[in-house]
């Protein structure tokens, strides 16, 4: 497995078109992180996400949010993706609903700097409008997987 595949896999993608709130979305993401073994304790992950959101929303506008947390309950770095076609209330910068959330999980210790730089390079790509729209309009998990894995592959 290469570094990108350690960070992101098809099982990291959740589609739940019924979800309408940030709270529900973050709960599902935390749960999945624990199921996948990325996190040891979903409650701590959820609390971590909320701390960050309260400091400053991660709904950066244009329908996309990047919830993230760095805490001890994260066992290894990971990326999770969540999509709700209904749109979620996220108190985003543009006050618009969020349709896709890319969650970044980082362990408390600073090991694995390579992973960190992959995560930040993904985050930088998410600024790009074209890239963002490609992700937002991806209708199935296979497409989402391809887009994200391509974005974090080492050059």
């Amino acid at each position: 497995m290469n570094n990108a595949e350690k960070l992101f896999a098809p099982s990291h993608i959740i589609f739940n078109h019924e979800v309408e709130t940030k709270e529900e979305c973050l709960k599902e993401l935390s749960h999945q992180a624990q199921v996948l073994g990325i996190a040891s304790d979903k409650e701590k992950i959820l609390a971590g996400f909320f701390v960050r959101e309260e400091e400053c929303t991660t709904g950066f506008g244009g329908g996309l949010a990047i919830p993230h947390t760095k805490c001890e309950a994260v066992l290894h770095p990971g990326i999770l993706f969540f999509k709700s076609r209904k749109g979620m209330d996220w108190q985003a910068f543009d006050d618009q609903p969020v349709y896709a959330a890319i969650a970044l999980l980082v362990p408390a210790s600073n090991e694995g700097n390579l992973h960190l730089s992959l995560l930040s390079s993904l985050s930088r790509k998410l600024i790009n409008k074209e890239f963002k729209e490609k992700l937002l309009y991806a209708e199935n998990k296979e497409t989402v997987y391809e887009i994200i894995i391509d974005a974090i592959k080492e050059d």
Binding site: R52, C56, F93, S120, S123, R124
Partner: protein, 105 residues
């Protein structure tokens, strides 16, 4: 000659807000006719590092930081405008215009 604006962005985790704020500042400054360079101190280290000369030549220096950045002393002798990452992401253009007005007074 175009006016020059430099910025420094750094958030607590260095994974998202840093880059979003830097992008917002770059776009707004360019739109308002500035020659712009924004340094980021994020999870990928220091990127787009500002040299002492670039800092010295800048008409406007903006810091948008939630952590104490590295090599902070580079800015010691200059007037620095501090704004929150939120403000910058939400309305970078407004931030710059406010600074311009303050400078004129």
């Amino acid at each position: 000659m175009a006016k020059k604006l430099v910025g420094l962005c750094a958030c607590t985790m260095g994974l998202a807000h840093t880059f979003m704020a830097a992008q917002a500042l770059e776009e707004a400054a360019a739109l308002l006719g500035y020659e712009v360079k924004v340094e980021t101190q994020g999870a990928d280290g220091i990127q787009n590092e500002l040299s002492p000369a670039e800092i010295a030549e800048a008409d406007i220096i903006i810091h948008s930081i939630a952590v104490t950045p590295q090599d902070y002393e580079r800015f010691d002798d200059y007037e620095v405008y501090e704004v929150s990452l939120q403000e910058l992401i939400r309305d970078a253009k407004g931030v710059i215009k406010e600074i311009e007005e303050a400078e004129q007074e």
